[in-house]
């Protein structure tokens, strides 16, 4: 090799510049601009956009408040059905309470709505609230262990094995739909009615509504929807399927979502 020190340094310098610069240049040219900053990804598609996904399955729910107002006690029935099926403990005090689906007054469910001269109907009506299974779920982004994640069908599910109980997701959820197991839930589950097919949780994990993934897999409706029977109070289905019952309801009725301005894109809709 007949190469001078000076030549070698020239070649080495040029190749370094080319090696470092080429990929960056390619990225800029091919993608037409620098990438948007991607935060620690724990949801994949979940955080891709703030718009509803136009394709694929996105499961959602429509709650018809008119039916719940007409049938007092129906909401309670839904709560009981859900909490029985999922072995949700009853600690008997507000502080430790675990809730998957429960009733709240209008102003607590829809905090953004003006309360001056409230509609008479709303005064004594209570709204069923549950996990909204957001299209852009903040809890998923907050979870450091990917214990909570968004499935392809839009369900925001939890893997309790991975939950470390840090409660970041509880802080991140703008709807307060997550509960923490401060105590061992086992002794507080009704032994007569508990569901042997579904596990309980342990102390130190967060839990919430799972849209009944296990029941859906068996071809059943979610427990709360089933509890409503054929009253039409709750409708469950694919929001992206133009022939589904739920889409017809959304087409023909004015619906509201909880805190839509936050951009989480809830999948639970209310007909008031």
């Amino acid at each position: 090799m007949d190469i001078k020190r000076r030549q070698f340094l020239k070649v080495a310098g040029l190749s370094t510049i080319a090696g470092l610069g080429a990929p960056a240049a390619f990225n800029l040219l091919l993608k037409g601009g620098p990438d948007t900053v991607s935060y620690a990804s724990s949801g994949g598609e979940a955080e891709a956009s703030h718009e509803a996904a136009p394709t694929g399955v996105r499961l959602g729910m429509v709650i018809d408040q008119r039916v719940f107002d007409a049938n007092k006690g129906l909401a309670q029935k839904c709560t009981t059905a859900c909490h029985t099926v999922h072995n949700v403990p009853n600690f008997g005090n507000k502080k430790d309470e675990i809730k998957w689906i429960f009733e709240v007054p209008f102003e607590k469910a829809f905090t953004g709505k003006s309360q001056y001269h409230k509609n008479k109907n709303l005064e004594d009506s209570s709204f069923l609230v549950l996990c909204n299974h957001c299209d852009n779920p903040p809890c998923v982004r907050a979870c450091p262990t990917k214990a909570t994640f968004k499935r392809k069908d839009g369900i925001v599910a939890m893997d309790y094995h991975r939950c470390i109980g840090c409660r970041f997701c509880m802080a991140a959820c703008p709807y307060g739909m997550r509960s923490f197991n401060w105590r061992d839930p086992r002794p507080f589950i009704d032994q007569k009615t508990h569901n042997k097919e579904f596990p309980t949780r342990m102390r130190g994990v967060v839990e919430k509504c799972n849209f009944c993934v296990d029941r859906l897999a068996r071809g059943q409706q979610p427990a709360c929807v089933e509890a409503c029977g054929n009253t039409g109070a709750m409708t469950f289905g694919d929001l992206n399927d133009s022939h589904s019952e739920i889409v017809k309801l959304l087409d023909n009725n004015f619906t509201i979502q909880r805190k839509p301005s936050l951009g989480t894109n809830p999948s639970v809709f209310y007909i008031v």
Partner: protein, 125 residues
């Protein structure tokens, strides 16, 4: 050595006592765990050897497949379908946790936390 007549027998006694567990169990493998197999079933989802060494990996895989990928297609072996589930799959055949799971887990001194959440058949909690 001063006081050798005390020190040397003392050392011998000390070593004999310290090594007592070794020569007491010499040539004896101890109580080997004998997990009770379910009656009337001859095949599991995998070979006995695989299950012995890797059942925990299989359970983890099942968990991720069912929960994350939503793939709950049952595992089929010789025309028999098994649900990919601990409570609704494995424990349907292996009905006695004490005589099956605990047998080895106690022997190996492992404490899996399955039962903090999952039910044991016929359990009263």
């Amino acid at each position: 050595m001063y006081d050798g007549k005390y020190i040397i027998p003392g050392l011998i006694v000390f070593v004999a006592l310290m090594t007592f567990p070794i020569w007491k169990n010499m040539g004896n493998a101890g109580i080997v765990p004998k997990p009770e197999k379910p009656v009337g079933v001859t095949k599991c989802v995998e070979s006995a050897q695989y299950m012995r060494t890797s059942h925990m990996k299989l359970l983890d895989d099942w968990r991720d497949e069912t929960l994350r990928d939503g793939d709950r297609t049952p595992v089929e072996v010789d025309g028999v379908k098994y649900e990919k589930s601990l409570m609704n799959g494995c424990l349907k055949c292996h009905t006695d946790k004490k005589k099956f799971c605990d047998e080895c887990h106690v022997y190996a001194s492992v404490k899996p936390y399955c039962w903090d959440c999952h039910y044991v058949p016929k359990e009263t909690f």
